[in-house]
Symmetry: C2
Subunit: 162 residues, 2 copies
């Protein structure tokens, strides 16, 4: 494995570690548990599951990995705060969407060559990217890894109150 | 900047983004605010500040960047849970330790060549590293970035209750 491949593999491992932790947490929770808030008056785990699914779904077109699977999750889980609407999706469906989105991402990541990670993503223009090459796909992956870890830290607070 | 350098720079940016966020949060909090819990009965921000400082301090020898600055923080902030002892360090000192440790890390990171990130760290033996080259310094940096983001997600919960 050359430098580029090892570097890309190490970054992907870090994404997988955080996702595996979340996966294990969600699997340990009943649909009723998903209704728990991470702290009094704050987001429910249900909302964070939808939020993370929507954010990860948006990575598909952003990283040129295909069409989105669940654009309908943006309005309730990205644009709106928790409890702005009656729950739009049953917990079972939300769990399926979460698995499908992360599965499609994993398949897409497996098709990328190491050097692809330093290429442009769709949220930056070709002109801007020429000036700012650090706004690459790897930066997006690492940012979403930190984002997933951020909410993971919140979710465990509810978990230990089960 | 060549491929290797851009890869390393992108990973370092992700560390810096998470640290800058924490830095801004800690700066916005008074010493009294640090006594707030992230959720009822859970860790105080004071404890998480000490915990993050101890974890980052351990990176210095682990990544061959020099001696530790604050090994005395391990017992109260890593080995023991919050409130196991009377607070061992005043908030002002803890803030200084946090800045000094992250400052020394930033200086150390600046001395590393891009390819150094794929080298062995001190928590893995040379024999194990020969078999498992993904247990490199980059993996440690990304793991600590996720760790900092994890606790950052908890700290903001207390912040918004200010």
């Amino acid at each position: 494995m050359n430098y580029e491949e090892l570097f890309a593999q190490t970054a992907l491992n870090s994404w997988k570690l955080v996702l595996d932790g979340l996966e294990k947490t969600f699997a340990s929770l009943s649909d009723d548990d998903l209704q728990k808030e991470v702290a009094p008056g704050r987001n429910r785990i249900y909302y964070l599951l939808g939020h993370l699914t929507a954010v990860h779904d948006r990575l598909l077109p952003m990283l040129f990995l295909g069409e989105r699977l669940h654009p309908e999750l943006d309005e309730p889980f990205l644009t709106s705060p928790d409890r702005a609407h009656p729950d739009p999706v049953a917990a079972t469906e939300l769990r399926s969407a979460w698995s499908a989105v992360n599965g499609k991402l994993a398949e897409g990541f497996a098709t990328l060559a190491a050097e692809d990670w330093l290429k442009r993503h769709t949220a930056v223009s070709e002109e801007d990217f020429a000036r700012e090459p650090h706004r690459n796909r790897l930066a997006v992956l690492l940012s979403r890894t930190a984002h997933a870890a951020f909410h993971s830290g919140q979710i465990v607070l509810a978990l230990e109150r089960k």
